[in-house]
Each structure stands twice: as structure tokens, then as C-alpha cells.
Symmetry: C2
Subunit: 428 residues, 2 copies
């Protein structure tokens, strides 16, 4: 590898230039080894955020992050693989029903997930509310479970894209998170290294999402679809609404319960709709567009796959889920129709109740969260329950209630703005 | 002091906003204490470099850096004080004759200097070639010498603007040196904390200077003059040419010898011109525009002040200066007129011969450097000496010669572009 100098690379990007392949390969490798210091990489990240990157640079940056660690390979499996990634939202439990639905259709789902930080929940945090369930699997266990059950949701090992792990932690404390080249390469380096054959991206847009603006979300989706396609992964993205939270719950155990409702053929209509839409994309990308995923929710096969997936990771799918020790009900202020429910307000409330964490070493409460008893367009009655807040620590109610304030409106039905759940589709 | 968060401050500047006084005070204080990490400050520095700062922000930033350390006070002296700062150039020994000239005119010069890094020399490195001379003085010694001799050139203590010291080292390795707000606040925080009543800035422009472009140099000068004036220091700046090196020497002992020539009433015309021009500005800013500094070079009073200044710091002004063990002569390639002599080429050659350092812990050679035997406009004869290269280590000649290559032209007298030494004057 050609040796470069950290300042040379920083100056090239600072002054609006395009980094060479050799500069990118060197800086990622040297940063992973510790030869480029954190203060140098953060200056480079800020220059990337403010001056941008060409598509070719993002592609090389992603490849260099993949090359910093191991790559997994599922080509020995007897079935095709497809994975999904969501950019994160409030009440976004979709991975939980989705993985078993797709597995029940004959496509294996190797889902490497993370824990939550801030107002968006983490898939592993939700599953860890199931008694006995464990997130950590060896590569061999993961491969065996994919072959036998067809779905795995587990923690990503330290071996995949270690450069990304280090850079992500740095960006978090240096104000350099919101750079599309860095977001796209962070997500895609892990997903490409994971070795999936097909990938569906759920890019969230709206108040509760990382991307508040549809144009930014579309740009991020296009960049990620390009990166996946360049790496030989069949990649498609859906832009989906996150101005309103998904379903009727935001938390950990309560989102598992709602997911099980969906797998049993019930559950909120929006959660069912998005699960089926994403499953269809995953199946199509994996060459199985002939199968109808919706049927698995009514014929019991998705529920069977769910139970097998939970049991394979030592969880008891039939055990009672933990519940919060304290609850507080917020009633509707008027009779009418819920015209608006803000995803960020709900997400912040759930976070403050203990469902999420402020620092990555914090614990989460399994039973904490928010249940809303109506979705926009639903009728509400003055004095009847509108929200139930759940936590083990009643001192948390006050700040959670403050988060909810101004986060919803009750009015008349003509004030409801109908918003499609799936806003756009990119790639494929 | 109001508590802020490093990411909050970074985001404000990243997104093009104006930092509040409270944010600036906090971030400088927290960085000095170590509560804001290097990787956070480097991201902020890059955002400042790319998004700029308002004059009010630069002023507050400077004040916060001054507040991070001690302030000196010369108000008890029996004479007024004036200081000079040069942004750095090749062959720029002007401080050496200037301080005694101004002292001989009755104005005290408290010159806190640094060592060189890269192709520009350091005033302390030059003076340290004088046998016995020491750079480190206590504040009490400095004050006593200012009263008795009227001039001090010594090392800045660690107590002045420690935030700047830390930030300067960080900028050096993170590609964030070339930000006018950061350059201006770095220079001015130290000069204001030093407590001088008047300040003359020599802002260099051209190939051998930090600022290659006259508009950038003018902007830097205007910002610095504004900062000084706001802080109650009578401040004026001269923009001076650094496309050609000053005098006929670049090195350490050889620049001391040239300075002594000037103090004895001789020396190169450009060194005399700039010394007198800067002295006149310092005297005017200190309220002594009635005195003619040029006279001190012919009546022996500047030489007397020089010898007293050197002796006060244990140096022997009459001792022989160290010489380099090896020399190499470059002859003129043709007969004609020297039409161009590039400051950067000469500076790089002197540096590579051992006169300067690449890292701040490196030693310098007292005898190393470059002597040029003609200045632009002077006649040269083919085969006669044009440059003499000096070093203790002959292995250094090869790279020094490579630096000089293409750095000068011999042609006809009508090809000489006359360039004024003092390009502009700002403030006052």
C-alpha cells in the first residue's frame, strides 16, 4: 500500500478535491491501525461533511472499510439470502415480524443488528426482553441457524468493518454524523461485509427519522443503492414515512408483543403493510417474486419461523414478557379525531421512560415505553385514554410528559393529512 | 461560566451559524482543561476554516484564549513599549536589528519570540548561535532588562495563552493551520497577553510567506489590526514582499552577522529599509514619531543597545560566530542580470542544509544556511559564485541543491520586475 500523510489527505478534501483510491485505502487502513489519530480523522470527517464526496470516492471509502475486517460468505447455504436495513425510526419493530415472514417464504435472512442510541429503539434491545434470548452468536451458530430455521437476528461481531466501528464512535462526538457519504458507507460497509445476496433498505423520512427531508433521504437511498449494486448485492430502497410512529407501541417488550400480534395475523395495519411491502422487495431481490409473503401471516408459517428463531437463540417465545412496574395514562383533551401524532415526540417520551439509552453503556428497561391508543384519523373521546406511559421509575414520567406536549392534535377529520406509508422506491 | 456541549458548539459552526460569546468562552476553557477532546476541537477548527467567523466571534475567541492564561503588564516601566510580529519569511532577521534600533530611540521592546518550524527561520534559533546567549528569562529578569537596556528578545513562557499553545499544535497535524480567524487569534492572543502598548505587524506576502496572495494577507492584517485595536493596543500592519528573500543570507549565525552589519551602518539595503520602516511605525504607535530611527544605525547607539541586550542575556556580542564545516558554491549559469530569486526555493534549501527543523524537537545547526551573492537586478557573471551553501553535513547538499533548482533566473535587465518591499499599510 502506498504511504500517504494524514495532513496531505485532509488538505486534499478540505480544499475541495477528490481523494485518490490510494489516499482512501491508506487513510482507512492507517486509522484502523491507529497511525492516523482521532483528531486527524475528525478533521477529515468534517471536511467530507462540508465539501462532499464523489460517488467514486464513496464507493472506494466503503470498499476500504470492508477491507479493514472480515467478510462473511453465505454461498454455501441451500437457499438464497436477503437482508433489510432500516435507517431507524420510532416504533420500528418491522425486523421482528419481517425476518420470520421472509424465512417462511424460503429465503434466508442473516440480520446483524445493533442496540439503540437516542430516541430510536434497537432491535436487539427489543428481542432481549424475551426471557432467555441471547444476541451473541458465533459465525458457525449463525450459519447453522440460517440453514435450519432460515432467519437469524443477532449482534454484529467485532470482525466486520472495524474501521466503521471506530469511525462511527468518533463521528458521534465530533458533530460529523450527518454526512451522507459517511452514513451511506457506514451502513453499506457492514451490509456488504455481511455477505448477503440481496438487500432492501428502509430509508425513513420525517420528524422521527434521521433524515427529516425527503430530498436528503432520496439522495442517501440513491447513494446506498449504488454502493450495494457496485458490490454485486441486489439492492433496492423504499423511502417510508416516519413523521408518525409505526404501530401503536414504542418500547421493547411492548414492541415484541405487537410483532407477535402481526405474526398471529392481527396487529396494526401500518405494521402489516410495511412488513409485507419489505418482504416482497426482499423476495423479489432474492429471485422469489412468485411467493406471497402476506399468506405467511395467516397460515401460521411465519409464527412457526418466529418461534423456531427465538428458540434457536435460547429464548422462550411462549414465556410472559416483562412489564413495567408503573404506568401513567394521558387522556384525550377533546372529542374528535387524532389529526397528528409526532414520531419524535413519542420517541423522546419512550426514551425518557427508560426504553432507550443516552450513552451506549447505559442499560434499557424491558417494560418501559409508550402505548398510543389511536393513530391519526382515529376518533378519540375527551377523557378517554390516549397514551399509556410505562416505566419502572415513576420519576421519569415528568420529562416524558413534557416530550409528548405539543406532539399531537385533536381536531376534525378534514384536518387529517393522509400520508402514504411508502413514499418512493429506488433501484431494483 | 455557562456549561455547553462540544457537539452543540461544533454543530452551530458546522451549519454556518455564529457562535455565541458563551459558547466561545466555554469551548476554549473546556479545551484548555481537557474537557473538550482534541478530536472535537479539530472538527470545530475545520468547520471554522471552511465556514469562517464573524469579526465579533474572532474577537471573543481571542479574548477567551488570553483569559486561558496570565497577562503581563509593562505599565510600571519608565518608557512606552512597542512590539513587532512577523508572520514569517525567508532571511527575515529584521527583529535582530529592529529591537536595538527602537530601544535606542527610547521605546522599550518586549519581544517574545519562537523557534522556527519548516522553511522559515526562528528568531531564537538565530540568537542562540551567539556564544553564551540564553533565550529563557523569568518575568522579573525581562522587566529589569526592559528598564535597563530597553530591549528583550526571549522565549515566550508557558503561562501566556496556553489554549493557543494547545490549539496550535493540534492545527499543525489536522490540516487546519490556514484559517484566517485561527491565525489572527493565535498571533494576537499572545501579543495582547504580553501587554505591549503598541504593536506593528509585518504581514509577509509571496512564495516564501505563509500567505501567497495579497488579498488573503490584507484580510489577515485587517483582522489582526481590528483585534489589537479592540483590545486597546495601538496596532498597525505593513504588508511586505516575501517573493524574494530578505538580505543576502538565510540561516542562523549568518543572519546574526548580517544584522550586525546593519547595526554597524552597513548591510543589505532591503534589510535596512525594512528595519527603519518598521521602527518608524513602532515609534509612531508608541507616541515617539519625533525620533528618526535611521540615525541610530550611523551614530552607534543601536549597536550599543544590541551589545547591551546580548550581554544582559549572557551572550558575548564580540565572540566569533560558529561557522559550518562544509560549503558548496553554485556558480552563475550565464552572464547577465539576476532577474528572479524565489524565497521558497532559498528557504527550503536553508532548511535542508540544517538551518531549520522538520519537527519541533529537532536541533538546528548554528552555521548552516544559504548565502546569495546577488539580489534581483544585480549583475552576475557566468562561472562566478551565485550561492554558497553551508552545512556541517555534506550529505545535505544534494537535496538543498534540488530545492534551489528552478528558483532563480539570469537574463537581461529589462526582465527584472521591480517589486516594492512595503506593499501596503493597514490601520493606525
Amino acid at each position: 500500500m502506498t504511504a500517504h500523510d494524514a495532513v496531505e489527505v485532509i488538505l486534499a478534501k478540505r480544499d475541495g478535491g477528490t481523494l485518490t483510491d490510494s489516499q482512501i485505502d491508506w487513510v482507512i487502513d492507517a486509522y484502523t491501525r491507529g497511525d492516523v489519530a482521532d483528531e486527524q480523522m475528525s478533521a477529515l470527517a468534517m471536511a467530507i461533511l462540508l465539501n462532499g464526496m464523489q460517488r467514486t470516492e464513496i464507493s472506494r471509502w466503503t470498499a476500504a472499510m470492508i477491507a479493514s475486517g472480515e467478510r462473511m460468505d453465505f454461498s454455501a447455504l441451500s437457499r438464497p439470502t436477503a437482508d433489510k436495513h432500516s435507517t431507524g425510526g420510532v416504533g420500528d419493530k418491522i425486523t421482528l415480524p419481517l425476518a420470520p415472514v421472509v424465512a417462511a417464504c424460503g429465503v434466508a435472512v442473516p440480520q446483524l443488528s445493533g442496540r439503540g442510541l437516542g430516541h430510536t429503539g434497537g432491535t436487539l434491545d427489543k428481542l432481549e426482553s424475551i426471557p432467555g434470548w441471547r444476541a451473541a452468536l458465533s459465525n458457525a451458530e449463525m450459519m447453522a441457524q440460517l440453514e435450519s430455521v432460515g432467519a437469524v437476528i443477532c449482534a454484529a461481531g467485532d470482525g466486520l468493518a472495524p474501521a466503521d466501528k471506530k469511525l462511527y464512535a468518533l463521528r458521534d462526538v465530533t458533530g460529523t454524523v450527518e454526512a451522507i457519504p459517511l452514513i451511506a458507507s457506514s451502513i453499506m460497509s457492514k451490509k456488504i461485509a455481511e455477505g448477503t445476496g440481496a438487500l432492501v433498505l428502509d430509508v425513513k423520512v420525517g420528524s422521527g427519522a434521521f433524515m427529516k427531508d425527503v430530498d436528503d433521504a432520496r439522495e442517501l437511498a440513491e447513494v446506498m443503492v449504488g454502493l450495494g449494486t457496485d458490490a454485486g448485492v441486489r439492492t433496492v430502497a423504499l423511502l417510508t414515512d416516519m413523521s408518525t410512529p409505526l404501530g401503536l407501541t414504542a418500547g421493547n417488550a411492548i414492541e415484541v408483543a405487537e410483532s407477535v400480534d402481526v405474526l398471529a395475523g392481527g396487529g396494526p395495519a401500518d405494521v402489516v403493510e410495511l412488513t409485507v411491502a419489505l418482504a416482497r422487495e426482499m423476495l423479489t431481490a432474492a429471485g422469489r417474486e412468485d411467493v406471497d409473503p402476506a399468506e405467511t401471516l395467516t397460515d401460521g408459517t411465519a409464527m412457526d419461523a418466529w418461534k423456531a428463531m427465538i428458540r434457536a437463540q435460547d429464548g422462550d417465545p411462549d414465556a410472559a414478557l416483562p412489564t413495567a412496574r408503573e404506568s401513567h395514562v394521558v387522556t384525550a383533551p377533546a372529542t374528535g379525531v387524532l389529526t397528528r401524532l409526532d414520531a419524535m415526540a413519542v420517541g423522546m417520551a419512550a426514551w425518557r421512560l427508560g426504553a432507550g439509552r443516552a450513552r451506549k453503556e447505559d442499560p434499557v428497561q424491558a417494560g418501559a415505553g409508550v402505548v398510543w391508543h389511536a393513530r391519526p384519523g382515529d376518533a378519540v373521546t375527551a377523557g378517554e385514554p390516549l397514551f399509556t406511559l410505562l416505566t419502572d421509575e415513576p420519576a421519569r414520567f415528568e420529562r416524558a410528559l413534557a416530550s409528548l406536549e405539543g406532539g399531537y392534535d385533536v381536531g376534525s377529520s378534514d384536518e387529517v393529512v393522509a400520508q402514504p406509508l411508502v413514499i418512493d422506491r429506488i433501484g431494483g
